[in-house]
């Protein structure tokens, strides 16, 4: 089976693990990164179909990283979905402005999360 490959970038280990495992059980191939730098390396070697991007990353933040990826010919086709804290008003707007293709609010609901992610995946030929 040719499963979609999803990269999750989140500095919170527990959140990262929860999202990874929930999606892995949904049948996706999951890659993990805890900051922009390590994510960049994974993107270069593994070419994910979709990136789940936490906004509040240490070092380079998720929105700046998104802008860089969307400005690069080699990576702009990758779907980027922001993970925004629901309490932070305006994060959704900022995510769109930075070039994100969508956003999912945290905390994630384990029951609806796989379907929400699937909705953003490009349809395969």
């Amino acid at each position: 089976m040719n499963a979609a490959r999803i990269l999750i970038v989140d500095d919170n280990k527990t959140n990262l693990k929860l999202a990874s495992d929930v999606l892995a059980f949904g049948g996706y191939e999951i890659l993990n990164a805890s900051d922009a730098e390590s994510a960049q390396q994974i993107i270069e070697t593994s070419r994910p179909d979709l990136i789940l991007m936490d906004i509040g990353l240490p070092g380079m933040d998720g929105l700046t990283f998104t802008r860089l990826l969307k400005a690069d010919e080699a990576t702009r086709h990758i779907v980027i979905v922001a993970l925004t804290a629901s309490a932070m008003k305006g994060d959704d707007v900022r995510a769109r402005e930075a070039g994100c293709d969508g956003y999912i609010t945290k905390p994630i609901d384990t029951r609806t999360f796989p379907a929400a992610v699937a909705g953003y995946l490009p349809v395969r030929a």
């Binding site: 919170n12 527990t14 959140n15 929860l18 495992d21 929930v22 059980f25 804290a85 309490a87 945290k106 905390p107 994630i108 609901d109 384990t110 029951r111």
Partner: protein, 471 residues
């Protein structure tokens, strides 16, 4: 006009200043009602007239003079001009005024706690009670006849002369320099903050002004101490808000992990569970969700208190919103065998409010009603119209009710009534405080009627159409 050296000394105008001007415009105080014409005519017919009056000097100060008009005739016996002599009697006038007020008011003024100064139109002190003398550091009787300006720091003196002259134009009782910082000057040169009230006093010798002067050093000290304290409290309060806001956020992050994994496990995704495992995971989930609810309420309260909540107004169907909330509490109602009876007055449907906040208000009241009502009890939601384009939302129950003495504390943070109710009913103690704040934000009112043991009726009055703040 001829103007001699004496006139120059008395009024401050040189002969060159004075000549060619009307004497009336020069030395008669503006608005002064002397019957000058009469005295001059009298001088022309009888050869002489005299009167005492106030006169204006070039520097703006007033003096009292005795004016003598003497007609001077030409060879044919026609009056050629009038010789006007003015004698400065200011000091005499002060002594006369002093004698007058001394006899009438001294005893009375000695008995008041305030320092009292009386001055006549020339600004000279005609009476200072002993409280005033002590306040400003003068010997008994030392102030008599001096200009009131000696009691002022020099930087205020020039302005004061002008104000004082203006006061006699329109004398009335008032406080001096309302909103301004006023200072008194002691004989030893030290200053102190004062509060002064002025009132005119009509006497046989003309209008006097009485000023009651109070030393407010002590009050000023307290005021500034209070002000500093307030700034400090405000700062501490803001720090508390920031702390709570960031704590709430920090607390939620690990909680999301707890709830998320428990949910994932209890759904049996990673593998099958036995019944006990399922039950315990359910307990973890419930506790986690309860804690999350508490944290969310706390964050909401802090945000509202800090004025950081903006209502997002939208037009929505009231019955639909009520239905949605009822669906949310349905599992709890079913588990206790309680029917929720909803009635909405005909003609009320669409309202313009912050829908999520409205639902939060109803949710809090409804989940309280369910919590505090025994199994198979009754809970009602009633909507009726109220004049002024408003509606009343009543959530009633026939549960345990509230004691009259507890009703006042009901809407205060962390005031769950009986200790132990919290454990029994799982409330947060924040719900009603938050509900009240949400109602306040909508410009509404909230109240409660309750009889202990018989149930409670919470009533909320809200506008049908909330006028938004233009954004």
């Amino acid at each position: 006009m001829y103007w001699n050296g004496g006139a120059e000394r008395l009024f401050g105008y040189s002969s060159a200043d004075a000549l060619g001007n009307s004497i009336d415009s020069l030395i008669v105080p503006p608005g002064h009602v002397d019957d000058l014409g009469r005295y001059r005519r009298e001088a022309l017919t009888t050869g002489f007239s005299t009167f005492e009056t106030a006169r204006l000097r070039k520097d703006g100060s007033l003096i009292f003079t005795v004016v003598s008009n003497k007609a001077v005739y030409d060879a044919e016996g026609r009056a050629e001009f009038v010789l006007i002599t003015q004698k400065d009697v200011t000091h005499l006038k002060v002594l006369r005024d002093a004698k007058l007020v001394e006899s009438q008011y001294r005893d009375l003024l000695e008995s008041t706690p305030d320092a009292i100064i009386m001055a006549n139109q020339t600004g000279r002190i005609v009476l200072a009670n002993s409280q005033a003398e002590r306040l400003f550091g003068y010997e008994r009787g030392e102030l008599l006849g001096t200009l009131v300006e000696v009691l002022l720091p020099s930087r205020y003196r020039g302005g004061h002369v002008a104000h004082r002259s203006g006061y006699f134009g329109q004398p009335r009782t008032r406080s001096m320099g309302a909103g301004l910082e006023l200072y008194g000057l002691r004989k030893d040169g030290s200053e102190f903050p004062v509060e002064i009230s002025l009132s005119p006093l009509q006497t046989d010798g003309g209008t006097l002004v009485m000023s009651a002067i109070r030393d407010i050093t002590y009050r000023k000290g307290i005021e500034s101490a209070l002000q500093e304290k307030n700034v400090e409290l405000e700062r501490a309060n803001q720090a508390k808000d920031r702390f709570l806001a960031s704590m709430s956020h920090e607390l939620r992050t690990p909680l999301n992990g707890i709830i998320g994994f428990a949910e994932f496990l209890s759904d049996g995704k990673p593998g099958p569970l036995n019944d006990k495992q399922k039950e315990y995971l359910g307990d973890i989930l419930n506790s986690g969700r309860h804690l999350l609810h508490l944290i969310n309420d706390m964050l909401d309260l802090v945000k509202i208190q800090a004025g950081r909540v903006d209502l997002a107004l939208e037009r929505f169907s009231l019955s639909e919103a009520i239905y949605e909330v009822c669906t949310g509490v349905h599992p709890l109602a079913v588990s206790k065998g309680i029917d929720i009876n909803v009635t909405i007055e005909n003609g009320i449907d669409f309202v313009t409010l912050d829908k999520p906040r409205f639902k939060q208000i109803l949710f809090n009241l409804l989940s309280n009603a369910l919590k505090f009502t025994d199994e198979h009890g009754h809970v009602g939601v009633d909507v009726t119209s109220v004049d002024g384009g408003r509606f009343r939302l009543v959530v009633s129950d026939d549960g345990i009710g509230i004691r009259a003495e507890d009703i006042g504390r009901l809407f205060t943070e962390f005031e769950q009534l009986e200790s132990g109710t919290s454990r029994r009913f799982g409330g947060t103690g924040l719900g009603l405080a938050l509900t009240r704040k949400l109602v306040d934000l909508h410009g509404g009112e909230i109240g409660v009627e309750s009889e202990f043991g018989k149930g409670s009726r919470f009533a909320v009055i809200l506008p049908l159409v909330m006028k938004g703040i233009a954004t």
